[in-house]
Symmetry: C2
Subunit: 337 residues, 2 copies
C-alpha cells in the first residue's frame, strides 16, 4: 500500500476520465465520487473498482455521455431515465433532485431507470445528510442472491441506504441484503479466514462460514434469513415499479455487463416540521445512550461512525492505495494522448 493525497487521487482519476472522453466537469465530478469513496475506506467501490469502470466504458455498457432525463412528474414524485450514463453521476444527480423536492414538498421521490452501478450507495446518503435531508435510497442489481426457499440467484443484493443528518457526524447506514458481498467473501478467502458468522450455504445446503464454499454454491445468505429475502423482493419490486425500469430478473448476470438498473431516491426535510435544535438533540441522545451501554466485548458501533474515523485518518495521512493499482492507473496517463 502507498498513501496518496485526496487531491492527487482525484486529479489522477479525473485526467484518466478526460482521456476516456468525459467532458471536464463530468470527469471532475465522477473522479471526486470515486476518490471520496476511497477516502472513506470503501475500497471495493472506490479506486479498486475504477479499472472495471473503465472496462465497462470500453465495452459499451456505460455511455459516458448519457445524462438522466425527466420522463414523468407528479408533484413530489419524478421518474427519470438514466440513459445508460455513469452510475455515480446519475445517482448523484437524482439524489440532488430528491433533496430539492423535499425542500419544496417536505418529502420527495426520484426513481431512476436504465442506469449503471452506483458504486458506493452510502455516497448518496452522505449527500442527502450534508444537505440537511434524511435520505433513503436503494438500487436493484443483477441476480446474485437466492430468494428464501430457492437454490439459484434470482434476487439482487439490493443495497439500502438510510441517512440521517447530525451535526456531530451524520448517521449513514449502507447495507446490502446479503450478509456478505461476493467481494467480502473473496477478501476473507484470500486472507485464509473464516467469516465471523454464517455467510451462506455450501453445496449440500448447510450453513457455513467458509467463504470459498459459498462462492462455489453461489448461495450467500440474506440478512435475517427469510426476512432479508423478503426485503430484497420488495426493494426490487418498488424500484422497477416506480422507475418503470427493469427488475433484477431482467438484468444480465454478468459483472462486466450488468446495466439497466433501477433505483429510488427518497428525501425528507425534517427542518420543515421540526426545529434543527430538537433534531440534533434527538440524534445525539440516541447515539449517546447506546455508547454508554455496557459493552458485549466487541466495540460498540453505529452507522457512519467508522467512515468518519477513516476519513479523518486518510485526510491526515493520505489514502491507502495498492501500489500495483496506482502504477496501473499512472501508466494510463503515460501513453500517447
Amino acid at each position: 500500500m502507498i498513501r496518496i493525497s485526496f487531491d492527487e487521487l482525484t486529479g489522477t482519476l479525473c485526467r484518466i476520465l478526460e482521456r476516456s472522453g468525459f467532458e471536464n466537469e463530468r470527469a471532475k465530478a465522477c473522479a471526486r465520487l470515486f476518490a471520496e469513496t476511497t477516502l472513506d475506506g470503501v475500497h471495493s467501490h472506490g479506486v479498486n473498482r475504477f479499472p472495471r469502470f473503465l472496462e465497462m466504458i470500453q465495452n459499451g455498457t456505460i455511455d459516458i455521455h448519457g445524462r438522466p432525463e425527466l420522463v414523468r412528474k407528479f408533484a413530489a414524485i419524478e421518474q427519470w431515465d438514466g440513459r445508460s450514463g455513469p452510475g455515480n453521476l446519475n445517482a448523484s444527480a437524482c439524489m440532488a433532485r430528491a433533496i430539492h423536492l423535499s425542500q419544496e414538498f417536505g418529502i420527495g421521490c426520484v426513481a431512476l431507470a436504465n442506469t449503471n452501478h452506483w458504486m458506493r450507495g452510502g455516497t448518496y446518503g452522505w449527500q442527502a445528510a450534508e444537505a440537511g435531508a434524511i435520505g433513503i435510497c436503494w438500487t436493484n442489481t443483477m441476480p446474485n442472491l437466492p430468494a428464501w426457499g430457492t437454490a439459484i440467484p434470482n434476487l439482487g443484493n439490493n443495497p439500502l441506504v438510510v441517512a440521517v443528518p447530525r451535526p456531530g457526524g451524520h448517521i449513514v447506514l449502507d447495507m446490502a441484503m446479503s450478509q456478505f458481498s461476493f467481494g467480502a467473501l473473496a477478501s476473507y478467502r484470500e486472507r485464509g479466514l473464516l467469516l465471523p458468522v454464517d455467510g451462506g450455504f455450501d453445496i449440500t445446503g448447510s450453513l457455513t462460514r467458509d467463504p470459498a464454499a459459498i462462492e462455489t454454491s453461489q448461495r450467500p445468505l440474506p440478512i435475517g434469513y427469510w426476512k432479508g429475502s423478503g426485503l430484497a423482493i420488495v426493494l426490487d419490486m418498488m424500484a422497477a415499479m416506480i422507475s418503470g425500469g427493469l427488475a433484477t430478473h431482467q438484468i444480465l448476470q454478468d459483472p462486466l455487463r450488468e446495466t439497466s438498473l433501477s433505483q429510488v431516491f427518497i428525501c425528507l426535510s425534517p427542518s420543515k416540521i421540526q426545529s434543527e435544535d430538537a433534531s440534533t438533540r434527538i440524534s445525539d441522545e440516541i447515539i449517546g445512550f447506546i455508547l454508554q451501554s455496557p459493552s458485549s466485548g466487541e466495540p460498540i458501533r453505529y452507522p457512519g461512525q467508522k467512515v468518519v474515523e477513516t476519513r479523518t485518518e486518510n485526510l491526515a495521512h493520505g489514502i491507502p492505495v495498492r501500489k500495483s493499482l496506482w502504477n496501473e492507473l499512472s501508466s494510463l496517463l503515460q501513453g500517447a494522448v
Copy 2:
C-alpha cells in the same frame, strides 16, 4: 382451539369495547382491526393480545378517547399527536392520511408521536396496498434489543412494513429488527423446540438456538447481526425526529405501560407516474420468476403469501381461537352492564 366466524369475533370484541366506554364507531373499527389480524393468522397481535389491550385501558396507558391531532404540516409531510389513543386506531388514521397525501403529491409522509402499540404492523401495509398505494411504515418500541456491541436492551425491535399493491395478492413485508420476537421465543420454548436458526446470545455471549437461554440473557439477535442493529437505530432516529416524539431509550421498559411511541407512515402512489397494467406486470413477473426457481428443499415464500392463504382458509372454516380465551372474552359480556 375452536373456530369462530369473522363476524362473530368482530361483534364480540366490539361489544366488549363498547362496554369499556368506546364510542360505537370506534369500537367497531378497533374490533375489526383485531379480528382481521386474527383472521390473517397473526394471533400474537390479534385476539391473543386483546386482554392485554383491555388491561392497558384500565391502567390508564391507553386513552380510549384519544384521537390523533395535526400538529404541523408542510405540503406532503405532516406531524400528528396520537394523544395516547388506541394504537391501532391512531395508526390506521395516519396511514389513511398518508394515502391521501400520496394521491395529492405522489408521495406523502405522516409522522405520529405519543401513540400506543399499533398491534400488527402489516395491517397498515395491507391498508395502503388496498388503496393502490405503496406503503412504508415503521414504529419504535420500548427497549428490547441490544445494539451491536452492547449487552443490554437499548434499541427497539422497531418493526418495518413495506407493502406493494398487486391485483393477484398484495406483497406485504412485516418484519421486526430482531430475528425472533420474545413472543416467538416463548412459543418455541413452550413447545420444547430449538429455534430453526440462531436467535440470540446466551449469558456467556455465545450464539444460541435455545429460546430459554435468550429469554434469560435478554439478548435477542438483530437480523443480519450488526446490520439489523444499524437499521433499528436509524428507524428509531427517523421516527423520533420526524414525529417530534420519544425515542426508544425514553420509552418505559414495561410491557403493560409501554406508551408514547413514535411512528412514520410513507405512501407512494405509483399510478401517478406509471400505468397500473405496467405495475401489475412488474410485480407478477418478479413473483413468477422466484416461484419458478429450483427449490432449496424448503417451500418458496414471498411476503404476504402466507397471509392470503391463512385468510382464505379462516374465512371458509372460521378463525381458530383458544377455547379458554374465547370463554374469557364471552364472560366479559355476561356480567352486569
